[in-house]
């Protein structure tokens, strides 16, 4: 493979260079990426294909009656969730990274947990608590003798604001995790220089740490926003008329899958624009560090009241995202725990572990391959490829699942047809209706999550390290193994954790693509919840959180030990 390396903007010029000028290694890499991309984009290509044959032109109706308000609602939802997750995720990550305060080590992993909560369950819990008929308002009415809603004002949880609140406190961990990993890897030198030059600690955060973490923060926020776009459960329960609702009504109420696919495709363009704008705004700034000199960050001790304030600030998101809703669920667990604990539930636990573990390992491996490919061959094609790989996340879940099952079944049927014709044997469905289909769907869906985390990790590693390693005779593969992988540990850990937890709670694709008699915790919860028996689903819902906790604990150490401080420069003397 070529050693010519991304030393600057001139590398981009290489795109135009013609294919035959590339080395065999480069060609091979790019071909493999094309193949990979073809698989990852299968569902989206199927959706685009479906959108070519709508049952009827949906646009006159949608423009006249739906889109103006649905677009406004969706943008409002995305802006709200984007802002809150950014502030909460970044703020808590900075506190945990830079300061020592009571309970710091505990909140570090507590802060990740809300991610394990399916949003529609949280929406249900908050309605139980804050609705007019809910515990809080009923209590207030009893206390003050109010007769009806006209006697007092109370924020309406069944609203777009309610949805912003609910989704923000489930999704902020995306920002928290990537911000934390980013802050951890920032060179202390940069921060110290800033201090020497007269910045206050707030000034360092604002002027140095924050801009340096920007790619990571944006990656985190983007994930939250895509989740806003594709969510159906929570928005439906809270009565928000988002674009995704319009996709489903077009498909199911009007039997127009083609039309629904058109709308979903347009939403994708929306996402592409969003990414492009962010990229353009970022311009040609570079975010990796120019020095390999790291020391453990000297925590600033926050004593007394300030320490406790930090504790409260970092506990609050956890309380809102997990603890408060869990009160509702725990009530159910205590009442129905025993009756709902059976062999079927244990099978669900195993199935959840299985598909989430597989999806996480596949998604992270592919993300590593793509991101490193982009690093070694930093051309336009590779940049677009890594970006495209993540688009599965912005598509409403069931639509993505339909988009995947169509090409999978077509593949199976054509092999079957060939085998029947040539050998008279039927091979039936090889991939459709197997765990493979589910895992593939999850990996495709959450590629954005893993690519984002892995890329952010690569961004922070100075290309000087690559150059040095290559000068010293390492190949691109051995550089990856000996130099990058150890440094990427926190990023890979975060990526695996995110995909695992997301896959655990993923519902629509798992539901539709699974084999016979195959339940995961998420489908188990859904089966009960869709019968309006949320309470009986409590135990399974809590199990999702508890199992989400396992990898959090497992990988937390990997993430937190991500300060490549102290030992690293002794191990790699040549790099300094």
């Amino acid at each position: 493979m070529s050693l010519a390396y991304p030393f600057g903007a001139d590398a981009i010029g290489r795109n135009i260079k013609n294919w035959f000028a590339r080395t065999g290694g480069e060609q091979l890499t790019m071909l493999s990426v094309v193949f990979l991309l073809a698989v990852l984009l299968l569902p989206i290509m199927a959706i685009v294909w479906l959108s070519l044959s709508p049952a009827e032109n949906i646009w006159p109706h949608l423009w006249a009656n739906v889109l103006p308000s649905a677009i406004a609602d969706t943008i409002y939802l995305m802006v709200g969730v984007g802002a809150i997750t950014l502030i909460v995720g970044t703020g808590t990550a900075w506190l945990v990274t830079m300061y020592q305060f009571p309970g710091r080590n505990i909140v570090d992993w507590l802060l990740v947990l809300p991610l394990a909560m399916p949003t529609y369950i949280i929406a249900f819990c908050y309605v139980e608590l804050f609705d007019y008929s809910g515990n809080l308002q009923s209590g207030l009415r009893a206390l003050f003798g109010w007769q009806s809603a006209r006697d007092y004002w109370f924020p309406q949880i069944r609203s777009t604001e309610g949805a912003i609140f609910v989704m923000s406190f489930v999704l902020y961990p995306y920002v928290y995790l990537s911000a934390r990993a980013s802050f951890l890897q920032q060179s202390i030198c940069v921060l110290e220089v800033a201090r020497t030059l007269g910045h206050s600690s707030w000034g360092v955060f604002r002027a140095v740490a924050l801009p340096l973490a920007r790619p990571a923060l944006m990656a985190g926020v983007a994930l939250g926003l895509m989740e806003c776009l594709n969510d159906i459960g929570a928005v439906e329960y809270l009565g928000v008329n988002s674009l995704t609702i319009a996709v489903y009504t077009t498909w199911l109420d009007r039997s127009n899958l083609g039309g629904a696919s058109q709308l979903a495709s347009v939403m994708l363009i929306f996402v592409i624009l969003l990414f492009t704008v962010e990229r353009l705004a970022r311009g040609r700034q570079k975010y990796h560090h120019t020095t390999g000199r790291y020391q453990p960050i000297p925590y600033v001790e926050l004593g007394g009241v300030r320490g406790w304030l930090a504790t409260i600030a970092c506990t609050l998101p956890f309380l809102l995202g997990v603890a408060l809703p869990a009160v509702v669920l725990l009530d159910g667990v205590f009442r129905f725990g025993r009756s709902s604990l059976d062999a079927a539930l244990l099978w669900s636990v195993w199935h959840s572990f299985l598909i989430a573990g597989l999806a996480a390992s596949i998604a992270v491996s592919l993300a590593l391959y793509l991101s490193y490919g982009r690093r070694v061959l930093p051309n336009l094609f590779m940049r677009i490829a890594t970006r495209l790989a993540g688009f599965g996340y912005a598509v409403p879940g069931t639509v993505l699942a339909v988009g995947l099952l169509i090409p999978l079944a077509a593949f199976d049927n054509s092999i079957d047809g060939f085998m029947r014709n040539s050998f008279g044997i039927s091979t039936g469905l090889i991939l459709s209706g197997t765990i493979f289909a589910v895992v593939l769907a999850l990996a495709i869906r959450f590629m954005a999550v893993s690519v984002g985390a892995v890329e952010a990790g690569f961004d922070r590693i100075s290309p000087n390290l690559d150059a040095a390693a290559r000068t010293l005779g390492e190949t691109s593969t051995s550089t990856l193994i000996r130099i990058h992988l150890p440094m990427l540990r926190p990023a890979l850990g975060a990526a695996a954790l995110l995909v695992f937890v997301d896959s655990m709670k993923e519902l629509p694709a798992t539901l539709l693509l699974r084999p016979f008699n195959f339940d995961t915790l998420a489908t188990h919860v859904y089966g009960l919840a869709s019968l309006d028996q949320f309470e009986e689903a409590s135990l399974a819902a809590m199990l999702i959180v508890l199992i989400g906790l396992a990898p959090v604990l497992l990988l937390h150490r990997a993430i937190a030990s991500g300060r490549v401080g102290g030992v690293s420069h002794e191990r790699k003397p040549g790099i300094r």
Binding site: L62, T249, S255, A409, N517
Partner: protein, 351 residues
């Protein structure tokens, strides 16, 4: 990192296990099985299927999902493992037929058992239960003991009605029945009137609407009858008994054309690999024993008139069902859904 390595080692074992399971499940084409794709929750049909397995020895495999199973069957085509499709809502039954994934069942006992009004003329789908969409009225605050769907637009109910999303299949079918009886223009006006009478934005599920009446947020709730039974008998969550006790059930239009009913039903898969077993299952579901279970366990109305409803259901009074053709109803769903958008029903009152 050791923990991580251990984790990956376990994953490797798991992969091997999957390969094995996958191969095995692929091979499971042996006799004595029947495969169901179900839009209905397994919990609801479990007692029925257990009974079926007990009496025939045929093992039942099931996949449940609320969206997309018809598309999955269509994609799997010739090789689809599905034998029987179970679903609620007439729209999905006619939709399955239109997609060409159903097979015709004729000359069997099934068509003798199920009344003509509740099955496809060519045998592509059969109704199993009827579900009436009714009004739950506050016992304290509503004096009326009769109501019609048309009345729901009356200004006297301003700010007093709770209902789930207008796009939900149950509501779409109800609105489609209004189009069938009154035409589009009148239905638009009617739905605008209902929207103006809403107490809150349409959201939540059917039970949540009754809870709204209980807590005083609204006086009328729209819902399906069997939810009433589920609340009344909810020993696990006794507060739901209080919700149920706070309302009386009014069968709309019982003095005129009758209350709107939708059905749940079944269809034979076109490429059913276990066709004989599928027919056996369908015959069983249409038979006395299964119909009684539907009535006594799920508290739905059996499609067959000669099967008694449960005592609880009988206590609510006699259901007079709107005789509107189900095929006609299904054909109007699209317009109903568009009208929901057109009047901005889901934006709630005062928008």
């Amino acid at each position: 990192m050791r923990g991580v390595e251990l984790f990956f080692r376990k994953v490797k074992t798991a992969i091997a296990a999957i390969m094995f399971v996958t191969v095995m499940s692929g091979a499971a084409g042996a006799a004595g099985e029947v495969n169901i794709y179900s839009y209905r929750q397994p919990y609801l049909i479990e007692p029925l299927l257990n009974e079926f397995t007990k009496s025939t020895g045929i093992k039942v495999n099931i996949i449940f999902a609320k969206k997309g199973l018809i598309e999955r069957m269509a994609a799997e085509g010739l090789n689809s493992p599905a034998d029987v499709l179970l679903t609620t809502d007439i729209g999905r039954l006619t939709g399955a037929k239109a997609k060409g994934i159903t097979g015709a069942v004729s000359g069997t006992e099934i068509s003798k058992l199920i009344p003509a009004a509740y099955r496809d003329t060519e045998g592509h789908w059969f109704g199993l239960t009827r579900r009436a969409r009714v009004v739950f009225a506050s016992r304290d605050r509503v004096t009326e003991n009769e109501i019609s769907y048309e009345d729901l637009a009356d200004t006297k109910w301003r700010g007093r009605i709770c209902i789930r999303s207008g796009h939900h299949v149950y509501n779409i079918a109800m609105i489609a029945s209004m189009i069938a009886h009154h035409g589009e223009a009148k239905t638009v006006k009617w739905l605008e009137g209902v929207k103006a009478n809403l107490a809150r934005k349409p959201s939540g599920n059917d039970r949540a609407q009754v809870k709204g009446v209980y807590s005083g947020e609204c006086d009328l709730a729209i819902g399906n009858t069997y939810y009433m039974a589920k609340m009344m008998l909810n020993d696990k969550k006794p507060e739901q008994k209080k919700w149920a006790a706070s309302v009386k059930m009014l069968f709309p239009n019982s003095g005129s054309r009758g209350s709107h009913v939708n059905i749940s039903g079944m269809a034979l898969a076109k490429h059913a690999p276990h066709r004989d077993n599928a027919i056996k299952l369908m015959t069983f579901l249409a038979g006395d024993k299964a119909q009684k279970i539907y009535a006594s366990v799920n508290h739905e109305y059996p499609v067959r008139d000669n099967i008694k409803v449960s005592g609880l259901v009988a206590g609510w009074g006699k259901l007079k069902a709107d005789p509107l053709s189900l095929n006609k109803l299904a054909g109007l769903r699209k317009r109903a859904s568009e009208i929901v958008d057109q009047v901005g029903f889901n934006d709630g009152p005062g928008s």
